[in-house]
């Protein structure tokens, strides 16, 4: 039977791979490269966005730490401020700020995808959802500045 089948196609199966068994399918599975995120610009951008969340976490911890230092009294706090104002720390925090901004902007830009708002029959356009986010950001920043400068 097998021979008839092969003859009917008009050619014999070329068996150069000695491990191959006739009529036993053998799938080829490729390993996914470890550096897959370098293969496409979009993948790289995604990894940077994810990595910059470390900066977000760091900032949150830093702020909480600062509050804790404040609770330890005026003198300790002054010393901590001095530490924050030293050049290497300033440079480091400049980099952290850049990461933070990158993270916030890329994150906000994605928000309209997740948030589909409807008011009755009207679908709130993406641009409005997006500008709403930025408006909230501005408002929060203004509030903080007002609290500090007061």
């Amino acid at each position: 039977m097998v021979q008839v089948g092969v003859a009917a196609v008009g050619q014999t199966v070329n068996r150069i791979n000695p491990k191959y068994q006739l009529y036993h399918p053998k799938w080829y599975r490729k390993d996914y490269p470890i550096f897959w995120w370098l293969e496409k610009f979009a993948y790289g951008k995604f990894i940077v966005r994810e990595m910059t969340s470390l900066a977000v976490g760091y900032t949150a911890v830093l702020l909480m730490f600062q509050l804790w230092v404040l609770s330890r009294g005026q003198e300790t706090y002054q010393r901590f401020l001095g530490f924050l104002e030293s050049t290497p720390v300033m440079i480091f925090h400049g980099v952290v700020l850049a990461f933070l901004l990158f993270h916030s902007v890329t994150w906000f830009n994605l928000a309209p995808k997740a948030l589909v708002l409807r008011l009755g029959r009207w679908r709130v356009p993406n641009a409005l959802v997006l500008s709403g986010h930025y408006a909230a950001w501005l408002a929060a920043t203004a509030l903080v500045i007002w609290l500090v400068a007061r």
């Binding site: 199966v13 070329n14 799938w27 599975r29 293969e39 993948y43 994605l110 589909v116």
Partner: protein
């Protein structure tokens, strides 16, 4: 032959080689030829043993998806003359993420199994008798899910998704978009059943929003958007079930 263009094709013939190899073919270069036309030319004139899937050649059947110069595309909708400045060479491989059976043909069984798990059909708790007529729908109701109904199961989004490649249990972009196609259809009453599958880790939560699925989708389904929307829905449902004791569990 007038002008020609080189196609480098990944061949995998398990009876001949353990690992895929590249083979080059020269095909005529016509402005109006798609990549698929080039493949058909090879099959008809140069090497009849070349294996690949295709059917409609008009972007509807979803079977001719391949990696062309590294990008997942429908070969019936990609002009040869627009690749590599029209000079080639054009590299053609099977879609990433699926085991290769032969040449450009991948095993899509995993996708089909996952698709069935979310029950991609309209589920009614109780069907109304035929005598009461069809379930009518307004254009606004149609608009709620129409975008997701455009999916042609071409699996380009799976090929573009690094999570699917790294975490094979991930149910994947198109399946979630298709679940939403039914969840958002006002005639459907099956969203709770689907939720059991979608809300698992291998469902929506495996997605880290790389977003490439939506970038490659030829039908503008936006599966990435569908997933993020469902994350919001699932979270809201969870809060409701925890905070409101009388809420539906």
């Amino acid at each position: 032959m007038a002008e020609s263009i080189t196609l480098q094709i990944q061949r995998y013939r398990p009876e001949e080689e353990e690992e895929p190899v590249w083979q080059s073919f020269e095909v005529p270069r016509h402005d109006e030829w798609m990549v698929l036309d080039g493949l058909n030319y090879i099959k008809d004139n140069l090497d009849g043993s070349l294996s690949y899937r295709w059917a409609c050649r008009m972007g509807v059947c979803g079977s001719c998806g391949m990696l062309v110069n590294g990008e997942p595309v429908l070969t019936c909708a990609t002009y040869l003359s627009e690749l590599g400045g029209g000079r080639g060479p054009v590299r053609i491989e099977p879609l990433t993420g699926f085991p290769v059976i032969r040449d450009l043909v991948g095993d899509i069984g995993d996708f089909i199994t996952k698709l069935q798990r979310i029950k991609p059909w309209i589920i009614r708790q109780e069907d109304k008798p035929l005598s009461q007529g069809e379930y009518l729908q307004t254009p606004e109701e149609l608009a709620l899910y129409q975008q997701y109904s455009m999916c042609i199961n071409c699996m380009l989004c799976y090929s573009a998704c690094p999570i699917y490649a790294l975490e094979p249990d991930f149910i994947g972009p198109a399946v979630i978009a298709l679940a939403q196609r039914y969840n958002l259809d006002p005639r459907d009453e099956g969203s709770e059943e689907r939720g059991d599958v979608l809300s698992q880790h291998a469902g929506i939560w495996a997605c880290t929003f790389v977003g490439e699925c939506s970038a490659v989708c030829p039908k503008h389904v936006d599966p990435a958007g569908a997933i993020q929307r469902y994350k919001v829905t699932a979270t809201a449902e969870w809060f409701k079930s925890v905070l409101l004791p009388w809420g539906k569990r």
